[in-house]
Amino acid sequence: MATDYNKCMKKIMLALGLVILALAACAPAGTSATYALGTVCSQQVYGGDCGAAIAEVDAMLLRITGEYAINGALTGKISSAAPNPAELTDEAAALIGASLDMAALTGGAFDPTIGPVSVLWDITGNPKVPSRTDVQKALELVDYNNVRIDGNTVSLAKKGMILDLGGIAKGYAADIAAEIYKKHGIKSALLNLGGNIYAFGARKDGKDWRIGIRDPKGQPGEHAAAVAVSDKSVVTSGGYERFFESGGQTYHHIFDPYTGYPAQNGLLAVTVICKNSTMADALSTAFFVMGLDDGLTLANRLDAVEAVFFTDQKEVYITDGLKESIEITNETYTIKS
């Protein structure tokens, strides 16, 4: 009968659809590119449950973008509650907790309470050089010691304080992505969150991932050095990323929490290599603010953290652990130790 044939065809199509969907979830390799965290985020994933892992990471990136932006719901909620405590999710509490740990570790060179300064300079919107008095006023609100965190509640001691998690958000997202990859049995992956790299596992062919370090005086994509890593995050902070010019001077976006002005200490960029991407993200900013001497000393003191410092004299200073493994790819730079 014609209707039996119809029913049969429909069943076949449905079954076919389900089989294909099931197979899709088991695809052995996959790539994806998403616009999140204010930039292009790309993944290359191999082995394990690729399709599901990629989709989950993309969804997570979009979620993190919305939740932790400086003018997002979370920071607004915490700021308006000040000086009273605000309730947080487990994840938000963990993220803020991590940022405070980093502040303590670096003596405040990385400080998540730098929000008022970031907002004042408005470097992502309409940047302008603020008056000295405005900077001083903003600085009064900057001190990570004025943040109390108790379980899942956080409170800012002074009204007007703002948390800026931008210097740690990409790293945090990368760490969550690594957990997602592990959960799905992924063997090898390369995650690139707008230049914040996470090399998960080794390359598909078993060799280490070869990660280039941006030439601070070059074009995007041009590298001055390269390292071979596996299961490590590579994060760079540099004045070249975001800056504006006014009155013949250049102002970049890495502010010194002690002066309220862009850190000017002869460094062009600092790269940190560490398995924990949250740490790498925060430390690269901190080392840049601390300058070569203090930054290099702290970097050498920290286990499992390696760093590369580019000075404006085109010198490259590295931590002891990199002496054998770093390669300069732009011969106009010289390694010093």
Binding site: A2, T3, Y5, N6, M9, K10, M13, L14, L16, G17, L18, I20, L21, L23, A24, A25, A27, P28, A29, G30, T31, S32, A33, T34, Y35, A36, V40, C41, S42, Q44, C50, G51, I54, A55, V57, D58, A59, L62
Partner: protein, 180 residues
């Protein structure tokens, strides 16, 4: 005329078929990574063609849009959606225009136009998002891929569309089989 229950069933089946085809295509595509994200061969166009021939432009656009949404949710994430939605919609529109205006083309030709427009739109979106104008070069490579896959898809459509119409008990307004 068809009642709305039957219409819903028909569209549902077509959406499922088109989503399944799109996902299968993505899976195969993931094995051969191409620098331009979201580029596919366009096999799911068979369903769009069917809708354009037997229903309306609006139904074809709606199903294309929903199919892209479904495929992105299951495989590839919302990032994939941003890349593939414009291509799917523009190629459906282009095929509609080709069906009405370029009457000397058969289904294969219409399908070729659909596939090429889909790929060009994909490259344009990729360039817009990444700012990497070097990607335009791949547009030309993909034009060839579009012509080939469009022809293959068109021939496949020619063979399968009558069967789909029979299975869903649908009678088509436009004769899709241009006889010479």
């Amino acid at each position: 005329m068809r009642n709305s229950a039957k219409r819903a069933a028909v569209f549902g089946a077509l959406l499922a078929l088109s989503a399944a085809l799109a996902v299968a295509e993505s899976m195969i595509g993931a094995l051969f990574p191409v620098p331009v994200p979201g580029v596919k061969l366009g096999i799911a166009n068979i369903v769009s063609l069917f809708l354009l021939c037997c229903f309306s432009l609006s139904s074809a656009l709606t199903i294309s849009f929903l199919r892209t949404l479904l495929a992105s949710l299951f495989f590839g994430g919302l990032g994939m959606f941003v890349y593939s939605a414009p291509g799917a919609l523009l190629s459906t529109l282009a095929m509609y225009i080709a069906l009405r205006r370029l009457k000397s083309l058969s289904i294969a030709g219409v399908s070729m136009i659909g596939a090429c427009v889909h790929n060009i739109a994909q490259v344009c979106v990729a360039v817009l998002i990444t700012g990497e104008t070097g990607l335009f070069f791949y547009g030309f490579v993909l034009l060839i891929a579009g012509a080939v896959s469009g022809a293959v898809t068109g021939i496949a459509a020619r063979v399968t569309m009558p069967r789909i119409a029979a299975a869903l008990n649908v009678r088509c307004k436009i004769s899709m089989f241009k006889e010479v």
